[in-house]
């Protein structure tokens, strides 16, 4: 255990950077502050890699699994006799993998931000919050118990709110971050109640289930309820239907932040949560897990359809993220046992996809950021033909698109294939559905790709100084992260023998490609790409426009994201405000006041002597007071004795 002492630095370094930059950031030049944060992040990344290397090269236990290491588990608060809130670090295959994912993407985003955010106001603060976010996310994945996870879970929400809302001066961005904050808080309500129930019945929050196996078994029937409630929290963070609506709006924030938060880290917290609780789900609540899987499948389809018609490139990526997370949830949801050879494949597939998706989706966002940086717009119509101007971005973006579409040998193919295999094992219908969604994914990603880099050349607009700007490639500090992520996307699929390290029961599992599934999915993906090419590559968009005309209703519905936002708007504004808040206010103003005014009038007459006092209302306050007492007393006596006249 002692050999992992250094892992504590993974949390402490970002925290130190946050405090340092938060307190003294403004004393430094912006670039210096940025470099401090970046160097700190690089050190954190090195430590994370070191930990991972050590962990995965250590000897396996007798049953072929890696030992779960808990180098730190500090009793933070003894609450009650048995229950304690702990803070610590837990290392097991998935948390170590998440360490790698988070630090890698975060480092890339740090470097990229040096270029992308250059000259923005509040540069130092931005990096301080970036460190805070990284710290919270790392704290979440290494949590030793559910409570610590919840704590960092909320902290992740706060820091992402700060990162977008406090840095950005755009009102829409702040409104969006507020929306994200409140929607996810709402979902977290479920999480918290689930935690309370779980703690109450099991008496421990620890993730070491084997220690508390008796208590868990004794709590049997409430475990599904607790887990179901916790999953709601997961659905909120991971933007599953019906909580998905915050994610597209959150795209108003700066693009590197989206790459970090909305592609690779925070949004997969829900998937990670389910993976963490996986043994409990399999043991006590498989039905809950399957329901989550169905919701995931629906979300994947729903988001993919919407992604096909969005015109803002970041929103396309946002819906794509929702859809891909749906894939991960489906993979977990179709698991039926912890044996990877019999129904437990999905666990590995899900984690694998999480891993590869983090890389290529971060790459896509950062690439989109470079494009936005070049053309100063998020809209597809302002782009086109950019391949000539931005060669590096074009090339890396293409790799990411191929990866997400599931074309070998890029990483996405391998992980998606495992998901499809797992799904086919569970139910062929769902397998075909997911294959179809994979095809849709290929279509909308290449629609995006062709619209940005091919199609008609974009109209060159005159800048402020009068002469025409041609879009130019981003500076090296931005393209280098792109190239690194692209390289990772090319290799992680087959270089890393993923199943050897992570599988549902911990033992080594050799990934093998199921030829039938693989060929089907490749064919479907190629068809999707082909359709996109025919429709969007050329300068004219006859077919696309024709389709939009012919399927007008569906198209418009999809553009409007199936009116989900409007429905929420309707519920909150029309129903809650109009039907509850306003009537309460009206009731208060007219009925209550009038009633008590009447009573007060009686009191008035009786107390004519103090009428000279200018306060018109204090008498009615007293009357309410009195009636309050009488009502409470009547109710209490009625409840206790059933009758009044015993008095």
């Amino acid at each position: 255990m002692e050999q992992y002492s250094i892992t504590l630095l993974v949390l402490l370094l970002p925290l130190a950077a946050f405090l340092f930059l938060g307190l003294f950031g403004n004393r430094f030049k912006p670039l210096t502050a940025g470099l401090i944060a970046t160097i700190e992040m690089a050190a954190t990344t090195v430590i994370a890699y070191f930990t991972a290397f050590k962990y995965f090269t250590s000897d396996r236990l007798a049953d072929g699994t890696f030992a779960t290491c808990i180098p730190f588990d500090h009793v933070w608060l003894p609450f009650g006799k048995t229950l304690t809130f702990n803070m610590g670090i837990l290392l097991d295959p998935i948390s170590v993998m998440m360490l790698i994912v988070i630090t890698t993407v975060s480092l890339m985003v740090h470097v990229y931000s040096l270029g992308y955010m250059k000259g923005e106001k509040g540069f130092q603060r931005y990096f301080a919050f970036l460190s805070l976010f990284t710290m919270s996310m790392l704290g979440l994945v290494v949590a030793t118990n559910i409570f610590q996870m919840y704590l960092f879970w909320e902290l992740v929400g706060v820091s992402s709110y700060l990162l977008i809302g406090f840095y950005y001066t755009k009102p829409s961005a702040i409104a969006a971050s507020k929306k994200a904050f409140i929607v996810t808080r709402f979902a977290d309500l479920g999480f918290l109640i689930g935690i309370l129930i779980y703690g109450y019945y099991v008496g421990s929050y620890s993730f070491e289930y084997s220690v508390h196996i008796k208590a868990i078994a004794a709590a049997g029937t409430v475990i599904p309820l607790a887990l179901g409630l916790m999953i709601i929290g997961g659905a909120g963070k991971s933007a599953m239907f019906p909580f998905h609506l915050w994610l597209p709006d959150a795209m108003e924030g700066p693009t590197p932040v989206s790459a970090l938060i909305h592609a690779a880290t925070m949004v997969v917290a829900g998937v990670y949560l389910i993976a963490r609780l996986f043994p409990l789900f399999i043991g006590y609540a498989p039905d809950v897990l399957h329901i989550a899987g169905y919701v995931g499948a629906f979300t994947a389809l729903f988001a993919a359809v919407i992604a096909c018609v969005q015109t803002d490139i970041k929103r396309v990526l946002a819906f794509s993220t929702i859809s891909q997370i749906g894939f991960m949830i489906v993979a977990l949801g179709v698991s039926t046992s912890t044996d990877p050879h019999h129904g437990g494949l999905g666990y590995m597939a899900s984690m694998f996809h999480l891993f590869t998706h983090a890389m290529f989706k971060a790459l896509l966002f950062l690439g989109a950021g470079a494009v936005i940086h070049a053309v100063h717009s998020n809209e597809m119509k302002d782009m086109g033909g950019l391949r000539k101007y931005m060669r590096v971005t074009h090339f890396t973006f293409l790799i990411a698109c191929l990866a997400i579409a599931g074309i070998p040998p890029f990483s996405g193919f391998f992980s998606k294939d495992e998901i499809l295999v797992a799904t086919f094992m569970f139910s062929p219908v769902m397998g075909y559905l997911m294959t179809f969604i994979a095809g849709l994914t290929a279509f909308y990603m290449f629609r995006l790709y062709y619209n940005i880099f091919w199609a008609k050349p974009c109209e060159l607009k005159a800048g402020h100084d009068g002469h025409v700007h041609t879009p130019h490639e981003a500076p090296a500090v931005m393209t280098v992260p792109l190239v690194i992520l692209a390289a990772l996307t090319c290799v992680v699929g087959y270089i890393v023998p993923f199943g050897k390290f992570i599988s549902s029961d911990g033992s080594a599992y050799h990934i093998h490609i199921d030829l039938k599934v693989a060929v089907t999915s490749i064919v479907v993906a190629v068809i999707g790409i082909g359709i996109a090419r025919v429709m969007y590559r050329g300068a004219s968009r006859k077919i696309a426009d024709g389709l939009e005309r012919n399927f007008g209703l569906l198209y418009r519905a999809a553009v409007k994201r199936f009116y989900i936002d409007e429905i929420y708007q309707f519920i909150t504004h029309k129903i809650i405000f109009a039907l509850i808040s306003k009537p309460v206010a009206w009731f208060d103003r007219h009925v209550v006041d009038a009633f008590f005014d009447g009573l007060a009038w009686i009191a008035h007459v009786a107390a004519a002597k103090i009428k000279g006092l200018q306060s018109g209302n204090v008498q009615s306050y007293a009357v309410v007071f009195l009636w309050g007492i009488i009502a409470i007393m009547a109710a209490l006596l009625f409840i206790t004795f059933g009758v009044f006249w015993l008095l």
Binding site: A175, I580, S615, Y621, A622, F625, I629, T640
Partner: protein
């Protein structure tokens, strides 16, 4: 009676010494000495806190009329700390032309109310309790009326006096019932004689209504918004935090010491009052335009959360309650400190819309305000999150699932309206924002203290642990 026993009332005696000293200081110190009055008062309170910091053992004077225990000592220290913060924040206000000559009165009256609260939390007899309560509330109305040339302040004081008298009368009615039915007012005796008979329940309801008035729980809350709005801002802060904290603590101790046989009735009654307080106050807070009124409703709903701990009547609940009070104190006093300094520096701006664009001109104050609001809304890693978790957990463990669920739903509603202020400060454009100003040294120190409290109290878990260790002794 052995009069040397009186010497055991250490916090009270040192406070009385301070009061006498300030009275004399006000008389004797000339124009020059008065300049340092504020410093002297602040340091005196710091000395008082230091002197009484170490919790004493259990004390019982004159057959249990006056009781003290470590947790009671801690509560007194917390109340003194809150008073210190309020006093510090009032420097700017007390330098105004109409208040500067009366500043000595302000200090002395404030300390008198504090003394009343001390006796209230230490009481082991209903009469001492009632005297303490009145001692805390009668001078309070003088404080509410302290801006005596201000129409609203005087009106608020009149409302406060009338409502307080009314509630005290009803409470006295309840106490007289208790005496009539049980033949004693000592808490120790009552525990054995109280039974769940209708008349006893009636006494409980009248008594609780009086407490509910002080805590401003629905339906006894109607005075709150008017009084909070009209009172001088610093006094509002004092009312909303220190006075409320003392009564909240007393509510739970009296419940545990006296009304245990009526626990079921108490819980049924509280259940509805908590739900009504939290929900109604939250719904009304959304509509408010005046920031002091806004925080009046916010404090009503916070009182509901405090009572969430009081409903379960367990030692852990006691810890959670005291902890909640501390955390609420630092966050709310940070808010009122800012409201006060803004009001003084901007010629009395107290509308929420006046805070539009506040961040552009006064980023640091806006930042402190935001953190305090986050804490009030219960967002980690700020202390408010932990205090909420603890009361929820205590209530949950006592079996109040539905209640916890309703309270949790309300936290989201409260997050919404607290963020409304954040939004006003950071986003809403304003052509004419509050201009940039430098806040005075006292306010700064007090805000830093509050900020440290908000940031540290939650993360340093030993605070809760220490409270928990003492509250078992009760």
């Amino acid at each position: 009676m052995n009069y040397s026993q009186i010497l055991l009332m250490r916090p009270e005696l040192s406070l009385i010494a301070l009061i006498v000293f300030y009275l004399l200081y006000d008389l004797i110190a000339g124009e020059k000495g008065r300049k340092y009055f504020h410093l002297v008062v602040s340091l005196g309170l710091v000395a008082h806190i230091a002197y009484n910091l170490c919790p004493t053992g259990a004390v019982s004077i004159s057959e249990g009329m006056y009781l003290s225990s470590p947790i009671i000592g801690i509560v007194k220290t917390i109340l003194t700390f809150g008073t210190l913060i309020v006093v510090m924040q009032s420097d700017l206000w007390l330098k105004r032309e109409d208040t500067v000559i009366r500043r000595g009165e302000f200090y002395v009256i404030t300390l008198f109310t504090l003394l009343g609260m001390f006796y209230m939390v230490s009481s082991g007899h209903f009469l001492l309790f009632f005297i303490g309560l009145e001692m805390a509330s009668v001078p309070m109305s003088c404080l509410v009326a302290f801006n005596k040339y201000n129409h609203e302040s005087v009106e608020a004081a009149a409302k406060y006096v009338l409502s307080a008298l009314f509630s005290s009368g009803l409470m006295m009615f309840g106490i007289s019932f208790i005496y009539g039915l049980n033949g004693s007012l000592y808490f120790n005796d009552l525990l054995q004689t109280i039974t769940a008979s209708p008349a006893q329940i009636m006494a409980l309801v009248f008594f609780t209504a009086g407490l509910g008035f002080k805590l401003s729980l629905v339906p006894f809350h109607l005075w709150t918004a008017d009084v909070y709005e009209g009172a001088p801002t610093n006094v509002t802060g004092y009312l909303s935090v220190v006075s409320k904290g003392a009564v909240a603590f007393v509510t739970l101790t009296i419940l545990l010491k006296v009304f245990v046989p009526l626990l079921g009735e108490w819980q049924q009654m509280m259940w509805w009052m908590i739900v009504a307080s939290i929900t109604i106050a939250n719904l009304f807070a959304i509509r408010q335009k005046n920031i002091k009124r806004f925080f009046a409703f916010s404090s009503i709903s916070q009182a509901g959360y405090i009572m969430l701990a009081a409903i379960c009547a367990t030692p852990v609940a006691m810890t959670s309650l005291v902890y909640y009070v501390i955390v609420y104190m630092v966050a709310n006093l940070a808010v009122f400190g800012i409201i006060s300094v803004v009001e003084q520096r901007s010629n009395g701006k107290v509308g929420i819309s006046d805070y539009d664009g506040f961040y552009q001109t006064n980023p640091k104050l806006a930042f402190v305000m935001t953190i305090a609001l986050f804490s009030l809304a219960g967002i980690p890693p700020f202390a408010g999150f932990f205090s909420k978790i603890f009361v929820f957990w205590a209530a949950f463990k006592a079996g109040f699932w539905v209640l916890v669920f309703i309270a949790l739903l309300n936290t989201i509603l409260s997050l919404y309206y607290y963020l409304l202020i954040v939004k006003a400060m950071y986003i809403t454009p304003n052509d004419n924002p509050i201009t940039h100003f430098k806040s005075d040294g006292y306010t700064r120190v007090s805000l830093v203290l509050c900020l440290i409290g908000v940031l540290v109290l939650g993360i340093v878990s030993s605070v809760f642990g220490i409270l928990n260790a003492y509250s078992f002794g009760l």
